[in-house]
Subunit: 156 residues, 2 copies
DNA sequence: CCTAATAGATATGGAGTATAACAATGATGA
DNA sequence: TCATCATTGTTATACTCCATATCTATTAGG
């Protein structure tokens, strides 16, 4: 390692072209956030998607699978396995919707509510630590940009 | 649809708990950006990763696969198939590194350079359209936040 | 030399996502 | 009523992305 050109290859990689793209920056930052989240949720045996589903069911008891899939922006077939998992762990249950025997009313169990509270608290703390360099106004500004991007998509 | 309670289910889903998380907003916005990018790259038969790899090879001709994997933050085995694909399409080639017969020096072909230019221009235009509601100062603020998150991870 | 480290490749599995197709049920209109 | 269509959840399938273990060829270092 004494000779800096010992292998006659590029020494420093430039990502100048990619760095100009907002999406590139977003992907790199999101990878960090996602890795931190996954690490945080591991002790609750939750993943990002099972966590999101659980929180939404706790906050909206009685919702249908199709509503949950819409809210999570995933396809109905992919939600089924998530719900299967949460149900098998007895964190939620599939109740019947009265007057519509096609649909399930998803409801959290007591254990599901408790795990949800713990997980939300843990995620809040970890996200706070991850964003400790970012003050409130910066977060608000970044959040506004995210909202605009999301809205732009919904509108078409 | 005349009776708003006709099915006795939750009518409007609340994601208030999740919305408080920066990571949640980021994921939703990033999904939009990624979908737009994928759509843009489709006509060039590129995906996000093959596109990133191609751009980095064009900008850093002669770099090694392990350097590229580092730059892209992906594992070496996963890069191999990306490089295979770009090489098979004759957008890049695996040259030999002098004095190190283990390594390849990745270089773009002329076709690779041309496709890269076209793709970069298309991505730039599409990203501009996606961000047309977001002015320069907002973008800069959001980009700063992304940089801080990324740096926080690198530092530990 | 002998051993350890490095570069690339192969195999494999998990996770996320998307589509097609199906059964059961509900809604609608002739 | 009844025929038709839409909706709900499900199964099967496939593709992409990501991670790990393991292998070879080669290089580096004691």
């Amino acid at each position: 390692m004494s000779n800096p050109q010992r292998k006659q290859t590029v020494t420093e990689i430039s990502d100048a072209t990619l760095r100009q793209f907002f999406g590139y920056r977003m992907k790199r930052a999101f990878n960090v956030v996602q890795a931190d989240l996954a690490q945080t949720l591991k002790r609750y045996e939750l993943r990002m998607l099972t966590y999101s589903a659980l929180v939404l069911i706790v906050d909206n008891p009685g919702l249908r699978q199709s509503q949950l899939a819409d809210a999570m922006d995933i396809e109905r077939p992919n939600l089924v396995v998530l719900i299967d998992e949460l149900e098998r762990r007895e964190l939620i249950l599939r109740d019947r919707v009265p007057n519509d025997r096609r649909a399930y009313a998803l409801k959290p169990t007591l254990a599901g509510q408790q795990l949800c509270s713990q997980a939300v608290a843990a995620v809040t703390a970890h996200e706070e630590a991850l964003l400790q360099d970012v003050d409130a106004s910066e977060r608000a500004a970044a959040t506004d940009v995210m909202k605009k991007i999301e809205r732009r998509y919904r509108d078409g």
